[in-house]
């Protein structure tokens, strides 16, 4: 089933006394299948975050239609919108600006409280969410004492307590140290693999994108390329045009190919590169 589909969707932020407003998202059409791990790539201002907010109805399209599991996001259907928000969990960029309560368990309870879940069930959901994010030891801790990575895992737990089908990470690792990044990505990956959750990771870290099932590449609000990491990263010209850098292994592979040492360019991971180099060494 299609988890998310965009049909010629455009959005622009209103600006006072501006004659011409560039669309932040400009005529995007895409279909995301359920259970996929998607990476949404693009430079600053490419419209990635706007696109994410269009998915859960925080923003509504100016033209076109966004559908989540077949249901369109429309403003005058409040209940429908809440159901979409329940099904689409979202974790934002700044780990400090997402927790509502001072204590971890109270914060995770915020979502289920909003949709009127009864107390016992909220307790069970907190248990489960903390277990999945490996934060059980911090249930009664103060949010402000946690590290960035831990705060983001609590934000994921807060989203999970609403039992969503889709998890959007809106540059959620960009303000974290390498350790925090690793922790958050591990949680996201295991949710995708073990629970079959659709994950959309908005990022500008190429190594994170390289691990996705599919990549969508945005430039100035337009979808310029989509496909598997191999397909997208082999189009080095487009990647550069979008103001992005190739993942390190791909960068090295490109140079090695230019020097005539290897022949395959569809390389995204260290392992693939190592294999390719070994092959060419054996040949010689």
């Amino acid at each position: 089933m299609q988890a998310i589909s965009f049909e010629n969707v455009s959005y622009s932020y209103k600006q006072a006394d501006a004659e011409y407003v560039r669309n932040a998202v400009d005529g995007v059409t895409l279909d995301i299948e359920e259970g996929k791990f998607i990476a949404l790539l693009g430079a600053n201002g490419s419209g990635k975050s706007t696109l994410a907010k269009l998915i859960n109805g925080l923003l509504l399209p100016v033209s076109g239609e966004v559908k989540v599991f077949g249901k369109p996001t429309v403003g005058d259907d409040q209940n429908g919108l809440f159901e979409i928000r329940r099904r689409v969990g979202m974790v934002f960029q700044n780990p400090d600006n997402q927790q509502i309560a001072s204590i971890v368990e109270d914060d995770i309870a915020f979502g289920p409280e909003n949709i009127g879940i009864d107390r016992e069930e909220i307790g069970r959901r907190i248990d489960r969410a903390l277990k999945v994010t490996d934060m059980e030891a911090f249930r009664y801790s103060q949010v402000s004492r946690l590290s960035g990575g831990q705060k983001q895992r609590i934000a994921i737990a807060g989203a999970l307590a609403l039992e969503p089908d889709i998890l959007i990470l809106d540059e959620s690792t960009s303000m974290l140290d390498p350790k925090g990044r690793k922790e958050v990505m591990e949680v996201a990956r295991s949710l995708n693999r073990e629970k079959g959750m659709t994950v959309i990771n908005i990022t500008h870290y190429m190594d994170e994108a390289a691990e996705a099932d599919e990549i969508y590449l945005l430039k100035e609000g337009k979808l310029v390329k989509s496909g598997t990491p191999d397909e997208v990263f082999s189009d080095t010209a487009t990647i550069r045009e979008c103001g992005l850098e190739l993942p390190r292994p791909a960068m090295l592979a490109e140079k090695l190919k230019a020097a005539g040492i290897i022949s395959n360019v569809k390389i995204t991971s260290k392992e693939e590169l190592a294999e390719e180099i070994c092959k060419s060494l054996r040949k010689n």
Partner: protein
Amino acid sequence: MLRDLTFGQYYPTTSFVHKLDPRTKLLLLIAYITAVFVAGNFYGLAASLLFLLIAVAFSAVPLWSVLKSVKSILFLVLFTFLLNLFFYAKKEGDTTLFWVITKEGLISALFLASRLILLVMGSSVLTLTTTPVSLTDGIESLLKPLSYIKFPVHELALIMSIALRFIPTLAEETDRIIRAQKARGGDFDSGNVFKRLKALIPILIPLLVGAFRRADELGNAMDARCYSGSKNRTKYKKLKFTFRDLIAALFTAALIAGVILLNNGAI
């Protein structure tokens, strides 16, 4: 420098008073304050002090922490004391000690100062034994009846708890801004009062702008988690009165009765 700043001065331990329902503690504090105000003589105040000392003993909070709370209002106490001492309305038959100071004036000033100290110490027992979060829960629960006259109780409680949640975050940010301004040659420690106040502007403006940005992001995060106001909302934490609360209430009732009896000279 500002990292450990928290609202109130919660003293984390488990004790009889800590385990009391926050609503009980709030109501009993009001009762205690009433007793202190009703007390018409030093015996009444002594009874209140005794009550306070027993409460402190049952809270496992060192007496020193409670006394420390007086420090912050020492100036106010002194001011009240002196004002009452010098401006005491002299009556017939008062004994003058020297100049305008009378024995009765001195007693009245001492009385008011002790009353003030008792009030502050009592309130600090509440804040020392109750986390700001459960205090907010208690206030929300106590104000609940007001929601029938369309008073936004839930919203008010949410605002309070978000404010509490962001105190450490904003304190950290203030610290960072101060350091950043110092690195650019900002000077906050010299000059007269006005100069120093003016030096605060480059701290306050970025802090304020940052707070608005945070509010915007928090609003998005709340929307994303299906926040829609108080309707159809459930509450995970439920406050519960226990036997403990009854004992505390009876004990406080005894204080009020004692104070009234002492006022009338019955004991």
